[in-house]
């Protein structure tokens, strides 16, 4: 009986991980690393569920900034964003500091995490892509 429970439990956890790691999507390792970067550098403002703060810190839930052009998104992290944004008719005006002190890998991990969390589903951002954007002035 114990063996059966163990086997069932194992199959269940495998199924669970597989459910989270979609075919061709980011690996669970990558998502965990991205989540660690998010928790330390992004969560204080954008909040644990990516919901942001009304009038101040923009949400990261299915917005064009998150799901759209990767170069623009990478630059938001590398250069910051001080002009405020409008999302769904609401203004968010706290400035975002540049987090260019994060490595290419960290930036790629956190953007991949955000683009695949909070209801988002989008392609990963690679370290090579970050490096290329960083090289441009």
């Amino acid at each position: 009986m114990k063996k059966l429970i163990f086997v069932l439990g194992f199959l269940l956890s495998v199924a669970n991980i597989n459910a989270q790691v979609k075919k061709g999507g980011p690996s669970s390792t990558s998502l965990l690393k991205g989540q660690a970067v998010y928790t330390q550098y992004c969560l204080p403002c954008h909040q644990v569920d990516g919901g942001g703060v009304m009038n101040m810190n923009p949400p990261l839930i299915e917005t064009s900034y998150v799901l759209g052009d990767k170069t623009q998104l990478i630059n938001i992290l590398l250069k910051g964003l001080s002009k405020g944004v409008v999302i769904d008719g609401d203004k968010y005006t706290n400035p975002m500091p540049a987090v260019n002190y994060l490595s290419d890998q960290q930036v790629s991990d956190v953007l991949t995490y955000v683009r695949n969390s909070f209801g988002n589903k989008a392609s990963a951002v690679s370290a090579a892509e970050v490096k290329a954007v960083r090289a441009k002035k």
């Binding site: 928790t39 550098y41 969560l43 204080p44 403002c45 909040q47 644990v48 569920d49 919901g51 942001g52 703060v53 009304m54 009038n55 101040m56 810190n57 949400p59 910051g80 001080s82 002009k83 405020g84 008719g89 609401d90 005006t93 706290n94 400035p95 975002m96 500091p97 540049a98 987090v99 002190y101």
Partner: protein, 420 residues
């Protein structure tokens, strides 16, 4: 004896459980979902009218409320309860500017956008005579990103006091950035980060003919004139990001608790010390800000004023009201109600605030510890992310019968709290 019909018994049990769950729901609606001290009750007098900010009540109990976002192009609502059924309806929507500030004094309604202050003449019943033609009494106030709203209050001598919030968190060279130092001399203070005083009856005033009444106040949303001390009291929104900007000096818990949200009594020329200092309510000291050489231990220059009350950090005091009514018990007379909008910067720790607090006063000074007066606005036990809060208290006003009104700027509920 008939055989026991288990099917019917279990169906009955299910029906009973469903009914029971409905009674729980009914209790949630008692007192509009709020928890209050014994003897107090609350109702929502209107709901879903917009992001309601500050509120003013006229002598007949009619209500003016400001909106953070225009609804059908209008930024101020006038509500009445003509049929006296306890629910208020929007009678009039006017003004094409959103904003927070609103106050009734001397036959006028004062209201602010993020850059200007207007006044509307009122008739004998304190209703607006011509909502489309206000007088512009103040113009040209700075409004850049952050702390844009211009709360206001009018005293007995026809002076109007207006908050001009600093467009910065802590006056860093790179705002909100890791280990960025403070700008030397913080030039923001020249025209923001303080209270400016104007005449309530002169047109088109600006910085050049206003008075720089007080400085070193990062952002004041809740403020009130205290008629027993004849002075201005303000609640400051303290700075954010002690940990995220200075992780070597402050851990996440320290950053969640500090700095205090301070209640200050303000006289002309007072300097509350932002950005050079913050108040540490645990050490009970004015601390030198890390942007200007502080390390969590060094104290600030003693020339900066001390708070009257120091509340825990980040709770966002959006409303301040000195109670002068006779409806509430004696303990509340001349005391201060504070609407704490609720924190966001405590992450990753759980958020705090989302309640109305009270401080008893006697002879112009606090006479006891502060306490939570009305809670439950958030609608959830624990808020981790601000958007989980269903309601966030913002504005406070006293009605002619001594009830108090609280606004919510998430969905636009207006609560009336009474003592029976």
């Amino acid at each position: 004896m008939k055989k026991i019909n288990y099917k019917i018994i279990s169906l009955l049990a299910v029906v009973i459980m469903i009914c029971y769950s409905f009674t729980d729901r009914k209790n949630d609606n008692e007192n509009a979902g709020l928890t209050l001290p014994t003897g107090f009750s609350a109702v929502t007098i209107s709901e879903n009218i917009g992001r309601t900010r500050h509120i003013a009540v006229n002598k007949n109990g009619d209500i003016y409320v400001r909106l953070a976002k225009l609804v059908d192009g209008k930024g101020t609502l006038f509500l009445t309860d003509d049929d006296k059924d306890g629910k208020f309806e929007v009678k009039l929507a006017f003004g094409n500017y959103y904003g927070t500030g609103v106050y009734i004094k001397n036959g006028y309604l004062y209201a602010s956008s993020d850059e200007e202050v207007f006044r509307y003449k009122l008739d004998k019943e304190e209703r607006i005579i011509d909502p489309n033609n206000p007088e512009k009494i103040v113009t040209g106030l700075l409004s850049k990103n952050q702390h844009e709203t211009k709360s206001l209050v009018v005293d007995d001598k026809n002076n109007i006091y207006v908050n001009i919030g600093a467009y910065s968190n802590s006056c860093q060279v790179k705002d909100r950035s890791l280990e960025s130092p403070g700008i030397e001399g913080c030039p923001i203070l020249d025209s923001a980060g303080g209270i400016w005083k104007f005449k309530a009856d002169k047109l088109n005033q600006s910085y050049n003919n206003g008075e720089h009444y007080a400085s070193g106040l990062r952002n004041v949303v809740g403020l009130d004139w205290n008629y027993s001390t004849n002075s201005l009291f303000v609640m400051q929104h303290g700075r954010d990001n002690l940990n995220s900007s200075w992780p070597k000096l402050y851990d996440e818990k320290e950053s969640a608790d500090l700095p205090a949200e301070c209640l200050y009594q303000i006289k002309k020329g007072d300097n509350a010390g932002w950005p050079y200092m913050y108040y540490d309510q645990i050490q009970k000291k004015k601390m030198l800000a890390p942007e200007y050489g502080g390390d969590g231990k060094k104290e600030a220059d003693n020339k900066f004023i001390n708070p009257i009350v120091a509340f825990p950090g980040h709770m966002a005091p959006d409303g301040l009201l000195f109670y002068t009514g006779n409806q509430f018990p004696e303990k509340y007379k001349n005391g201060a109600f504070i609407a704490f909008h609720g924190s966001w910067n405590r992450s990753p720790l759980p958020q705090e605030g989302y309640y109305v607090a009270f401080v008893p006063f006697k002879d112009g000074k606090p006479s006891g510890e502060w306490e939570v007066f009305a809670k439950g606005f958030a609608g959830v036990e624990v808020v981790n992310s601000t958007r989980q809060a269903q309601h966030r208290p913002c504005g406070l006003a006293q009605g002619p019968d001594g009830s108090i009104f609280v606004t919510d700027d998430v969905k636009g509920s207006v609560y009336k709290i009474s003592y029976n």
